[in-house]
């Protein structure tokens, strides 16, 4: 995973691969190729390092109805019922 870090003016400070601490003057981070836009980094003043702010994750939409296997079983049952087997 390649990440880019930007300062508060939007200037790119660093592009790196792997889990490395962001530069101390970074204000935003973004995954290369991520179309959702950069995340804001919040500074942890006590440590003097930026800390990651969790991205707001969309609420997963629960899948309704039967699973793939259950649908296949239902289809087979319907075929069997229609053929009288």
């Amino acid at each position: 995973m390649r990440k880019a870090y930007f300062d508060s003016d939007g200037k790119c400070l660093l592009v790196q691969t792997g889990m490395i601490e962001p530069p101390p003057d970074a204000a935003f981070e973004a995954e290369v190729g991520d179309t959702d836009g950069p995340n804001t980094l919040e500074f942890d003043k006590a440590k003097g390092k930026p800390k990651r702010k969790e991205r707001h994750m969309p609420t997963p939409v629960p899948r309704s109805g039967p699973s793939v296997k259950e649908r296949l079983a239902l289809l087979e049952a319907q075929v069997a019922a229609l053929t009288g087997q």
């Binding site: 899948r63 309704s64 109805g65 039967p66 793939v68 649908r71 296949l72 239902l74 289809l75 087979e76 319907q78 075929v79 019922a81 229609l82 053929t83």
Partner: protein
């Protein structure tokens, strides 16, 4: 008017119609049930339904392929319009089907298509003598 049914919404009603369509196909070229479910789940094939039936379609190199279809009440002009719209949406200039239904062939002709071939299935007596 047809409506697209996402995989998550495919339930017993649609599965019953798919089963009917499968049984309308000759056994030698009948679609595989697991294959249908897999392709619908993956989004390669799409299921559309209307009030009294459905059809399953996919596209293949500019062809709109009808894999399955059922209908109890037949509205040829409505189906023809729907097919035309789908083909246009997906930039298809040909409709291909293995569904053995003359009514569907009529609808394809209505939108300017032509029938290039029919498979004719004859029951054959196993003994060869009658």
């Amino acid at each position: 008017m047809i409506r697209w049914v996402p995989f998550e919404q495919i339930g017993i009603r649609q599965l019953t119609e798919i089963a009917k369509s499968l049984l309308a196909q000759p056994e030698h070229c009948r679609l595989d049930k697991a294959d249908i479910i897999d392709k619908l789940e993956a989004g390669f094939w799409r299921l559309f339904e209307w009030d009294d039936g459905l059809f399953i379609v996919h596209t293949d190199n500019g062809q709109l392929v009808i894999d399955a279809m059922t209908a109890s009440i037949w509205h040829r002009s409505l189906l023809a319009d729907d097919l035309k719209r789908l083909a246009a949406d997906w930039l298809c200039d040909t409709v291909k089907t293995t569904v053995f239904d003359k009514r569907l062939a009529d609808a394809i002709v209505k939108i300017g298509g032509r029938i290039e071939s029919y498979d004719v299935i004859l029951p054959v007596n196993g003994t060869g003598h009658e």
